[in-house]
């Protein structure tokens, strides 16, 4: 079967997911032969986290998101190997599935541990021995991936480690923090950066790593985003801008903290008022805000992740946070909320 002069498989060939993953790992090794190895050793949630890139092209794009993490760490932990075809000349192995096997949410029929982002040419392969990522072109990796690389791989690893990568922002004061869960557009990112601009601790604006054992929140990523019009209300953040593209800036938030004790959950919503208010809510509302967006948006969560989120809502005070337009009021209410939880 051909289309536009190129051939593709209309049906799959027999290959186990493990065999394909092994071929992907071999391809990474081949890319390293071409360009050399660039390696970073970090710690994430107290575990060793090793990033290995074939050459500098993809490393320069994706490694800065983890620059805040402590260095070092030995023993078994998470390892992710990544390369791109454009700079190494080494493609991912030919897919054994057919063109009809690409499913929504980056899934591939019969290959549960793989994700393929069709629009951006990103293949993620999760396996206990270490995750793999292949990009067609490092230069075309989208900015949201540069900000939050390896979401699927981190989420799957977190599930195996009995951690949870939750779709939520997190901000705090003096080492204790609030989780701000919600879907895209709920206001959590702007709230987190407002907090950072007004001197609160910043841990996450979109994805937060949680350890249920100690109710500890970890910042998996160092970078955040801010829309251009938000600088009018948060002018101090202009000093934190790393780059701007398409009206959106990438920010290294002031007050970035790598971990904090979690003391409460506040579900933000845009209220359309000037002032910000908060009130007590229920574990049920917290679970609604946390579970669907975390599990559906493809961070590799599981039934155990949802159970943890339910337990979290039952263990911590939950709040409704009605966000106003005055940023000082938002920050003041966040401080009040933290104080109310401790």
């Amino acid at each position: 079967m051909t289309q536009a002069g190129r051939s593709f498989r209309s049906s799959r060939i027999e290959m186990t997911p493990a065999a394909f993953a092994s071929e992907v790992a071999d391809a990474f090794a081949g890319a390293v032969q071409v360009t050399g190895l660039v390696q970073y050793d970090h710690q994430l949630a107290g575990r060793p986290f090793r990033l290995r890139f074939a050459g500098a092209s993809l490393a320069d794009r994706l490694a800065p998101a983890f620059a805040h993490l402590p260095c070092g760490g030995t023993g078994n932990g998470l390892r992710i190997d990544a390369w791109d075809r454009a700079s190494t000349g080494v493609p991912a192995p030919r897919p054994p599935w057919g063109i009809g096997d690409y499913l929504p949410r980056e899934r591939i029929r019969g290959f549960d541990d793989l994700r393929y982002d069709v629009g951006n040419g990103l293949l993620s392969v999760d396996r206990p021995a270490g995750g793999l990522l292949h990009a067609l072109d490092a230069a075309r990796v989208p900015r949201w991936v540069v900000r939050m690389p390896f979401r699927h791989l981190l989420g799957s690893w977190a599930t195996r480690e009995r951690l949870a990568l939750v779709h939520a922002a997190a901000v705090g004061v003096d080492g204790v923090c609030l989780l701000l869960p919600g879907t895209s557009g709920s206001g959590k990112s702007t709230t987190a950066l407002t907090a950072a601009a007004y001197g609160l601790d910043f841990l996450a604006d979109d994805l937060c790593l949680l350890d249920p054992a100690g109710l500890t929140a970890y910042a998996p990523y160092a970078l955040a985003k801010l829309e251009e019009d938000a600088f009018e209300r948060l002018p101090s953040l202009r000093d934190a801008v790393l780059s701007t593209e398409g009206g959106q800036s990438m920010i290294l938030p002031p007050g970035l903290r790598t971990s904090s004790r979690l003391v409460g959950i506040a579900v933000p919503r845009v209220a359309g008022t000037v002032g910000t208010t908060w009130s007590r809510s229920t574990p049920r509302e917290a679970l609604h805000a946390m579970a669907p967006s975390t599990l559906i948006e493809g961070n590799g969560g599981s039934a155990a992740t949802m159970e943890f989120m339910r337990e979290l809502g039952e263990a911590l005070p939950c709040f409704d946070l009605a966000l106003g337009t005055d940023p000082a009021g938002v920050a003041e209410n966040l401080r009040e909320l933290v104080a109310a939880c401790i």
Binding site: P104, G119, T183, T282, R284, L295, I296, A303, M306, E307
Partner: protein, 141 residues
């Protein structure tokens, strides 16, 4: 009569107060069951069959059992259609009881949330390159 299970690899579900939130991880859709529907779900997950669920709800609320049986059958069909339950014909139904009873009987229904439906859209694949991978869309200028 046969009992039902929620496929653990595909379905995540938790009960909080009088509501069950259930997520089909394969399709990316999520659902809510409130009140009698949450009770029915809890009984089904505990191994009760349609008759057992209906009897428990009927006794708890003093509602005509024939009405409840009809309601529960509709709910179970909806749960199966949503991929949240599968029938396990080989398993024997268990006697399950309600630990707490939600107030008032309303015909149990499955509420679907589709506000994340755009996530289910798949970028169309028009062609693949020489290595067999979908060609990236042309960047806008």
């Amino acid at each position: 009569m046969s009992r039902f299970t929620a496929p653990t690899q595909r379905v995540a579900h938790e009960r909080v107060e009088d509501e069950v939130i259930a997520i089909n991880l394969a399709t990316g859709t999520y659902f809510s069951l409130v009140g009698s529907a949450a009770d029915a779900w809890s009984l089904l997950i505990d191994g009760a069959d349609v008759e057992g669920v209906s009897a428990a709800l009927s006794n708890a609320h003093g509602v005509d059992s024939t009405v409840v049986v009809a309601d529960v059958k509709i709910l179970v069909d909806d749960l199966i259609d949503a991929g949240l339950l599968v029938q396990d014909s080989d398993a024997i139904a268990l006697h399950a009881t309600l630990s707490t009873v939600t107030s008032g009987y309303l015909a149990p229904t499955l509420e679907k949330y589709d506000d994340m439906e755009e996530l289910l859209l798949l970028d169309p694949i028009h062609e693949v390159d020489d290595a067999g991978w979908p060609v990236l869309p042309v960047e806008p200028h």
